[in-house]
């Protein structure tokens, strides 16, 4: 009975017949065709929106296309590497990343009162170690949980939480509240997928809620508080910190159902909308393509996430499932936080819209993440 289940779930040829035939070439290079197509579709939409959002700057679009190309290569390479290798390097990657984070605190450079970058010697570009940790933490937690029984024992959960706390606290010290929350969430998601009991999840949410006021008074910096206050009442400072959100809501709302037309958005084209090619790019789409365009984009994101969750559940190893699951939902969190902030239901935190906002680091690391998910899914242990 158990044996039947096993074979049916993993390797019944009939079930995978179609996919393996049509995607034979892609299977050989460890690429999930459906996910790839969805990503390419999103990238194309992203470039079009970017053209408009950048004030019709073809140079920006070209550079972003190069980011996609580099990210595509990274994705392809990451997909070739077997999960076993990731599992091996996972703890070391986190250790290395944490060391770099300590380095940032000691010798980092930064802007606006926060230290986030490491100046590398020579011609190497500035490097933000938290980007590395974004991948390293779920890897490490998945590595840890994969070697423990499921559902996880309380003891293991405590140890896993300790692993999560190391980079979280280091990033919080920079200070970068947004990133530390996102990174710790990606670690916690591994625990969620590992089967942590709902009771525990509930009590954790309760603890976090209770901790929020403590954070406000003892941990958060003035500029972070300002962002939250602005979020709660953007009109209080219409020309200062409230400007962004008022202008983005105006852009979105004025788009209506059908939008003003490609390149016709007055908010974005006349420079009223700030950061229209980076964090606030969804407002450009909303203004020019209206609710219809936004819904199409949301649908595209949903399809990508659902596909990722689906292939996560079909990974051969527990490590692969935990890692893919966590990364899929993290990707969704980026989408949700970005659109939520631009549309005024979440405070303004510097999160780009995945694969649409302009930015090399973001695009490349996201595509790298998809490469990892594909690797987890496509590599089969030799029998």
């Amino acid at each position: 009975m158990a044996s039947t289940d096993f074979s049916r779930t993993i390797s019944t040829p009939a079930q995978h017949h179609t996919f393996e035939r049509s995607g034979a070439l892609f299977a050989r290079v460890h690429i999930d065709l459906i996910l790839l197509l969805l990503i390419v579709l999103l990238a194309c939409c992203g470039l079009l929106i970017l053209y408009s959002g950048s004030g019709q700057d073809i140079g920006v679009v070209k550079r972003q296309a190069i980011h996609f190309a580099l990210g595509g290569v990274a994705m392809l390479v990451a997909a070739q590497i077997p999960p076993r290798a990731y599992q091996l390097i996972a703890p070391w990657a986190l250790a290395f990343g944490s060391l770099l984070l300590i380095g940032v605190l000691v010798a980092g450079v930064g802007a606006k009162g926060a230290q986030r970058w490491l100046d590398l010697p020579g011609a190497l570009p500035r490097f933000q170690p938290s980007e590395l940790v974004k991948l390293a933490l779920p890897l490490a937690v998945a590595w840890f949980m994969a070697s423990r029984p499921v559902p996880p024992r309380f003891r293991d959960l405590i140890q896993a939480l300790a692993i999560i706390m190391i980079p979280t606290v280091l990033i919080l010290k920079q200070p970068d509240l947004g990133t530390s929350i996102l990174i710790s969430t990606s670690g916690l998601l591994v625990l969620f997928f590992a089967g942590m009991s709902w009771a525990l999840i509930g009590s954790m949410i309760a603890i976090v809620t209770a901790l929020a006021p403590v954070m406000w008074f003892f941990v958060m910096h003035a500029y972070q508080k300002q962002r939250v206050l602005t979020f709660l009442n953007p009109e209080s400072d219409p020309l200062g910190s409230g400007w962004n959100i008022i202008q983005s809501k105006t852009a979105i709302g004025s788009g209506g159902l059908h939008g003003k037309g490609f390149l016709q958005g007055t908010q974005s084209q006349l420079e009223f909308l700030p950061e229209s090619h980076t964090d606030f790019i969804i407002a450009v789409l909303a203004e020019e393509q209206g609710l219809i365009g936004v819904c199409l984009l949301l649908t595209l994101y949903t399809l990508i996430i659902l596909r990722c969750l689906y292939i996560s559940s079909r990974c051969e190893t527990l490590f692969g499932r935990l890692l893919s699951g966590s990364m899929s939902v993290t990707f969704f969190i980026y989408v949700f936080v970005n659109i939520g902030m631009v549309s005024g239901i979440l405070p303004v935190v510097g999160v780009p819209l995945p694969l649409v906002s302009y930015g090399g680091t973001s695009v490349i690391s996201l595509l790298l993440g998809f490469g990892l998910i594909m690797s987890m899914y496509t590599h089969r242990q030799k029998k």
């Binding site: 158990a2 044996s3 289940d5 096993f6 779930t9 029984p149 499921v150 559902p151 969620f192 997928f193 089967g195 202008q247 809501k249 105006t250 852009a251 979105i252 709302g253 004025s254 788009g255 209506g256 159902l257 007055t266 908010q267 006349l270 420079e271 009223f272 909303a286 203004e287 209206g290 609710l291 936004v294 819904c295 949301l298 994101y301 949903t302 996430i305 659902l306 969750l309 689906y310 996560s312 559940s313 527990l318 499932r321 935990l322 699951g325 899929s328 939902v329 969704f332 949700f336 659109i339 939520g340 549309s343 005024g344 239901i345």
Partner: protein, 616 residues
């Protein structure tokens, strides 16, 4: 062991699948929340945000109306608007003002005066209003700025119409000038909401003279432009425009031929000419010398140039025609004569023997005649012709101050009777109350003696004397003096006020006095007989020699020139032709001494020009 492992793996798998489904549901819920939020913003609140975004990009900008033009009675342009290109800066948009000014200096050259003006204007202005840094750019300079505009944020070249007075100095005192709206103008404008709107795009306002008096008519109605701007306020295009209504053109009674002739005749002298059309009261000439270039005030005069104007001993900014108060001297005699006739204290047959002086009863003071040996036996007509002082001492005392002052007042002395001459002064028409209030003393008979020959306390402006002469010429019928004749070629009816015409007990006295005044010129002993040489038209006139009471001592001033300034002022008042008077005139030449040689010929040439028509 293997089975156990397989069971574990299968359990793991089912557990994960359950969690994946839970995650998928969570994702769908969150996506729905986003979609709901978007529907709320884009559908429910669409109208609100549509308006907000319209207001963002569309701004309403006022457009200044063109100022009305000013013409003289012959249709000659006296004030026009000419295009000028000026370099402007919006300081709010400039990152480094000093650097910007330095590069502009390299491109087009900025003088100290430009910078001084710029600093001055920065003080009072609306935020984001472009400030002029250099006026009247030429084409090369415009090109130099436009080519480099990209590197000069906040800098622009603006075309605007600026006021220009083609005749410059000749009309400065008659027309006044416009200048930039300053803080006190702004405060005045903002007292009235309607004016605040009307002036929302206006940069210049009438400061003085006709430009100030008829500011409301000349200004016009503001227009509006709906313009699309980007977030930085740069104009992208005009969506809609309501044109401004230009101000009305004014036609003045002024005759530029007379005005220019006055300027020519008074050149090198200090003095004033006022000529009035008898029938209408229209002012034909209103000239004061020296003058100044009103165009300098339009673009903003430099401190140095202004200092020069204000410190000059000749007082070029002082309008002698309307504000210069001088003793009327002998020009008052025809009016005193009429007053005495009216009071019955003399008649045309009454004569006295003039020994060359006059004495009051119980007073040993001598009041001398200008002619030391006296005029001998003399009647009223000859007293006017020869300007006999003794005769007028006599009849003035006989008439008495209580009769003289009210009668003289009917001619407008001591009052500003003008309809639209701005800041004209009233002069002094003394009486008992006036002396008690201002000199804290009672009126002595000697004061009346002095008044009899227009000396002492009484002062008049050239405008007042010309007005009184016009009333005299018009046989007592009043037409208040006025500059404005038509708005947009529609004749303007001036309110006449409640001025009563002067009724003489014997209306023949008007003609008799005119005859006497004509003899001032054509009589053998007439004080203005020098005019006989160029007598194209019959003129009735009266000379006057006003004593200069004193002058401020100025150490820097050389004594010759000082001597010159202590000489008597020469007056001449006249009207012509005698039979049917058309023009009345008053001329003063400061320190001109002999009226017959200085003031009277000027008056005659102006009369000849006017009555001689185009060829005269």
């Amino acid at each position: 062991m293997l089975g156990q492992s397989i069971r574990d793996k299968s359990f793991e798998r089912r557990l994960f699948r359950a969690r994946a489904i839970a995650a998928a549901i969570l994702v769908l819920v969150c996506i729905s929340a986003l979609a709901w939020r978007m529907i709320y913003l884009q559908v429910t609140l669409h109208e609100k945000y549509k308006n907000l975004s319209e207001n963002n990009r569309v701004q309403i900008r006022p457009v200044a109306p063109n100022r009305g033009l000013i013409y003289d009675r012959n249709g000659i342009l006296l004030a026009e608007n000419i295009p000028a290109y000026s370099l402007t800066i919006v300081p709010e948009r400039v990152d480094n003002l000093e650097e910007t000014l330095a590069s502009l200096n390299e491109l087009v050259g900025l003088t100290d005066r430009d910078l001084e003006q710029f600093e001055k204007r920065r003080g009072y202005r609306r935020p984001y209003e472009p400030l002029v840094i250099r006026q009247s750019l030429n084409e090369e300079e415009i090109a130099a700025v436009m080519v480099n505009r990209f590197y000069l944020p906040g800098v622009d070249v603006e075309a605007q119409l600026i006021r220009h007075y083609p005749h410059g100095e000749a009309f400065a005192h008659a027309l006044g000038y416009v200048g930039r709206i300053n803080q006190s103008d702004q405060n005045k404008i903002e007292r009235d909401d309607d004016n605040r709107r009307r002036y929302s795009a206006t940069t210049h306002i009438g400061k003085i003279g006709i430009e100030s008096r008829y500011e409301d008519i000349l200004h016009g109605e503001v227009g509006y432009e709906k313009i699309e701007t980007n977030a930085r306020g740069r104009l992208l295009r005009t969506l809609e425009r309501v044109d401004p209504q230009p101000g009305k053109d004014l036609t003045l009674h002024l005759d530029s031929r007379l005005q220019l002739l006055s300027a020519e005749l008074l050149k090198e002298r200090r003095g004033a000419v006022v000529a009035i059309e008898v029938e209408t009261g229209g002012i034909l000439a209103l000239y004061s010398n020296p003058g100044y270039d009103p165009n300098a005030f339009v673009t903003g005069i430099s401190y140095a140039a202004y200092e020069e104007l204000t410190s000059s001993l000749d007082k070029p900014l002082f309008n002698r025609a309307t504000r210069g108060t001088y003793p009327p001297a002998s020009t008052l005699k025809p009016f005193i004569g009429l007053a005495a006739l009216q009071a019955g204290s003399t008649n045309w047959n009454y004569s006295i023997r003039d020994p060359g002086w006059f004495q009051l009863e119980n007073d040993d003071r001598f009041y001398r005649d200008w002619k030391r040996e006296g005029h001998g036996r003399i009647d009223l007509e000859q007293a006017v012709v020869q300007s006999c002082d003794t005769y007028f001492y006599d009849i003035a005392v006989k008439t008495g101050i209580d009769n003289l002052t009210p009668f003289l007042g009917q001619f407008g002395f001591g009052k500003d009777m003008s309809a639209d001459v701005i800041s004209a002064t009233a002069g002094i028409l003394p009486d008992r109350d006036w002396k008690r209030d201002t000199r804290r003393g009672s009126w002595y008979p000697g004061d009346t003696v002095n008044l009899g020959i227009g000396q002492g306390f009484m002062t008049v402006t050239p405008l007042q004397l010309a007005t009184a002469t016009a009333v005299l010429a018009n046989q007592g019928k009043w037409q208040i003096p006025r500059l404005l004749s038509a708005e947009n070629n529609e004749p303007v009816v001036m309110p006449h006020g409640n001025i009563e015409d002067i009724q003489l007990k014997d209306s023949n006295n008007w003609a008799r006095m005119s005859k006497a005044m004509e003899n001032v010129i054509i009589g053998a002993h007439g004080t203005a007989r020098a005019l006989q040489r160029n007598l194209d038209f019959s003129i009735a006139g009266k000379t006057g020699t006003a004593q200069v009471v004193g002058i401020e001592q100025d150490a820097e001033y050389d004594s010759d020139a000082l001597q010159e300034r202590l000489r008597d002022h020469a007056w001449f008042m006249a009207f012509a032709p005698v039979e049917k008077p058309q023009i009345a005139i008053a001329v003063i030449v400061e320190n001109g001494e002999s009226s017959g040689r200085t003031a009277a010929p000027i008056a005659q040439q102006i009369i000849n020009k006017y009555l001689g028509g185009a060829e005269g």
